[in-house]
Subunit: 255 residues, 6 copies
């Protein structure tokens, strides 16, 4: 069933119209990577797309034209590659891909592009890529990180910031589509390997393979997850994003 909020569902003339209206284009960027024994490997992509759609619809309701570009599913998950099902680009390839997507969108006249990110591993390569993207395009492309939008983690018992496959993330997927969560989540929790103090304090950071940080691929307490918590989280994140993207001051800025 056609959903006109989706770029992929629109016809070429419809997208031409959206460009003329200077619509906000949200590019959901997710991941395809292990999410513990209980969640679908695509769940970062599903959440990225789901919340991008809800954000776009909400913007439309406020009279701000918006559209959701195709979801960039396979992104930066090299740290999960030792768990089955994880797929990843190399960071440098990801950076090229993001640049070419943005270049095409800009070529059609769009000037309000948002990377609607749903996966922490994309943060550094996206920010590194935006340097050259913005300089090339001549206007700023914005990075809207889901972790930030979810930050207050309203209603969660065990997380102040979203953890991999934990209470928050599992709740979000339960809210999105509970069939994508195996019931085993009720008996599962993160088997976290404690990090040295220097890492905990952020004084020394690095890239680790995920299996060295959690033996079952889960970082938080997914057994605490509920559908209701997910709905609360999602509502709050969308609201925060809509306020952010509805601000004309954001779009008036030069690179």
């Amino acid at each position: 069933m056609k959903d006109p909020i989706l770029w992929m569902h629109c016809t070429s003339p419809e997208l031409g119209e959206l460009a003329k209206k200077n619509a906000v284009v949200l590019i959901p960027v997710g991941a395809v990577e292990q999410h513990g024994p209980h969640m679908a490997v695509g769940c970062d992509s599903f959440v990225a797309e789901w919340l991008a759609k809800r954000t776009a619809r909400s913007l439309e309701e406020q009279g701000i034209p918006a559209v959701v570009a195709p979801t960039l599913t396979v992104a930066n998950s090299l740290h999960h590659m030792n768990f089955p099902g994880s797929l990843s680009l190399r960071p440098s390839t990801y950076m090229l891909v993001l640049q070419e997507w943005c270049r095409c969108i800009a070529a059609h006249g769009f000037r309000r592009i948002v990377i609607a990110n749903g996966h922490g591993g994309n943060r550094a390569p996206t920010n590194a890529a935006l340097v050259e993207i913005n300089l090339e395009l001549g206007f700023p492309v914005y990075f809207a990180d889901l972790t930030v939008a979810l930050k207050p983690t309203v209603g969660l018992e065990s997380e102040k910031s979203i953890l991999h496959s934990g209470e928050g993330e599992t709740s979000l997927i339960l809210a999105y589509d509970e069939t994508l969560v195996d019931p085993v989540y009720r008996e599962t929790n993160g088997q976290k390997v404690p990090a040295p103090a220097a890492e905990r304090a952020g004084l020394a950071a690095t890239f680790h393979r995920m299996e060295t940080k959690t033996t079952n691929g889960v970082s938080g307490n997914c057994s605490l997850a509920t559908r209701e918590k997910g709905e609360v989280l999602a509502d709050a994140a969308v609201k925060r994003r809509v306020v952010a993207l509805a601000d004309e001051a954001l779009w008036a800025q030069p690179v």
Copy 2:
């Protein structure tokens, strides 16, 4: 609703099981590009994924494990960039992306990978990419081109081979989801610019921007399209592909 034929819907342990069973992995590769005034720009991606799913299910029914990888949506559509909504990688970037997807899939132990292509523009870059992909992986990745699977074009009145946004392609989308086709298709037909004889005979081929070959972005007679024709086409293509991929001789071949 979880669909276990989809890689993205499976959990990591489920994909580990599929690798152990040596499942066939179909990677739908489509496009995001104009399809005339009447069709969704994502339709090549939708058809690629739809038929990959039907092929995988049919293989499963014959006892051959199969799974559908994420769809590579934005691929090779530079020739359509002057029509709104088209998105494309550069061919060299596409080749890198395809190589990295296949590398990851192989890293999990899968040895039966099929590029389930749904877009003509992907043909040359995919074949060029497979040279290095196969040499790197040590087993052959197969390219299953939809145009070939659809070749007999059973039931079509105006096409012997599938044309861009024409009778066949529009019929397929009507069969897939008719809400993705604007009713204007009934009054629309290809505004083809005749090609010189040398091009028609294949003696001189080249890359043209689509607007130089058809002013409205349509190459065939979409007004002849019907849902029924699309169903016949799709059934036949899936059947042909299933026979092809069920042949053990295919998988026994070295690079």
Copy 3:
């Protein structure tokens, strides 16, 4: 002995004149790869250059200025690398090289460039490369594939399409220079390994190393080759190409 049809033999001022006359530039692209126990490894390059020269001369006789660029000899032969003597670029390097040659030719003012291809392995990478070449140059560079020009394979007994080192190709080299064919060809024939049905039907295509398809590197029946057959083939191919390239409509086309 100076042959003014050859770019390499002309002086700089002579090439300046040819550019002013808007001459057709044919770039022979061949291969350096095994051709069975009987043929010189350079034979694809020799035939590409030979037929390009005959085509150019014939165009000149019709009053159409033409010149033959240096031959790109080492191209796409990674599939033959397990046979001694084969040399190859990686496809991505080949694509860069082709782009840089065309860029230089265009920089001198030429606007009619033809890739006069003599080797099947160049097809996909050349077509992939032309996407960016044409967009960069702003005019279409044409790909003239020898296999197409030879297609009717007039006079051959065992081939409907030219096979590697078979009746047609061996006949062509006998016609070009019979000293480049070892007499062993009379007792040699292709030791073809049968392909699975899916490959034969084109439903699943891939890149194979040549030794998996023919143990002696020959695909057809070279023992049927004769010099006369080669002359007939060559004459027909040149005629077809000349008709194609003499058509002003070809050159009037935009990218």
Copy 4:
């Protein structure tokens, strides 16, 4: 005067000894970019190197062998390029350079490498680079960000986190070498352009050219800077880093 804490000052045999002792190698990574009307453009590089040397000496005093690699001076400053004197690599080139430096250091047997960063613009590209660096080397290279080490910003009146050319940074340079600070700093303060709320909240982040965020290239209140504040900051940062890097648990971790 030879300073044996510096890699560049050591002889080859001395570095061979350090490798055998499994010394910690600190790579100072700075920047060459405008720092307002008052500070030397190299000051991020000077501070990075200065604090790396003090950290290394302090580690040595605790019996932990350490050495300071050459300083990577020109790094990621494209956002400052519209101010005279700024020099920068492209992020992708920076990532290659970092990888090759680490590869060489590891080739000599060192297994404890720390990127001692002194410039915020290096954060994303360094983190993006570490993905492939760690996977290639097989042990984790650590990123020690100065901003984090300085975080409590003890003794500063106007900054909770270090700002570009502000109170903290100017104090650090005064402490390092006050001749590198033009007295004009006493009458200078940041001419900050207020950011939209969404950016302030981190909900939408992007790369901006520095002149759009501060017209004189200064973000904080440099007029509050003093040499003493700089000494306090530097002492604290070195102490924190030494504690972090002296922790054996850090070095015991796999990638």
Copy 5:
């Protein structure tokens, strides 16, 4: 007429035999670039190939197996691009190409590879490329520069070192094939633009476009050229090269 000294003329089994005999492989590297108003643009390639063939034959006569690889014709001539007919790769592409040719030759078992260079512009990129080529292959590939082999310039009146299109080079082409030299050479001489003293002394060197150094593209006195001088030069160069390449000590060296 088959010339078995040429790689391109040999069959695959013949090249397999040559590899077993550890034959010396000479790769002629030339140029396609303007050579004044009087010489064919391919002359650097012709001389490179001609002298490589003579060197190889002479080695064979001494019992040292040798073969001449295809000639790399289009190489490093960006400095000549403002004269019609010049063709060039970018240096970085040239370096890739050279690496891939050498990799293939080595893959067939050859361990004695010589770059038989005939063009000064190839010197720096070839030497830069050999760093990675030798490290990859594990044995040294040698660069035999024609300028050095011709250095004593025996018999020349106006040149102590070979100049572009001057007395020596024109004599060589007269000796190779006088039809490739336009008689205008007798009335032509270099229209050299004097270089600053610093350049003449080598204290400051750079890349200049050729038209800034000589307005007619000629650097020496071609009017003094004779066929006989060319023969003397060629004989001497071949002799010197043969002595060099016949020395077993050269081939015994590691990288």
Copy 6:
């Protein structure tokens, strides 16, 4: 202590002034590589920077504005990698880095850029890089090679051209800072492995790993080195360079 001849020590406004005055920018390019058992691995970088500073000061004294850019320390030393402490970029990465530094310097308006080279291994990659650098920038960047400036090797007993870690180089470092030379130099001399005649004559050149040419990493007679010899050498080199760079004819040249 601020040294205004150094780019890194200047403020942004000071560099803006220097650009307006069209100052000469010297980029010292050195190396980080073994220099025998007696010298600091950074000595090529130290000498490159030291002599660049003296050259710049001398130019300033003649009324020619000049400034010394940051030193490119890690450059082309892959041939030394088997000796501890050597660091190197790949040649192709070095070429990118050099191009980006020059691009930035030119972006600020400087038009007189000099690569003040202090290491032989940088020669080929720098010259290869200058082809594209000059074409991109539109003005010539000059390569000032220290070996040439030192060529007469005034006052040396054992060297006519500077050898690696020999009499000349060790003398230079003694003159620069004798604490960077271990007294062991008095008992050390090059353990040179004799090269084949063809290499000595330059007829066959290649890239060798340094340990194959000298077992202790020293090529000359460092035991003959004295501080006084170094001062004489340095004075002469600086004088020669100043004369070269003070010549307006050099800067008037186009690419």
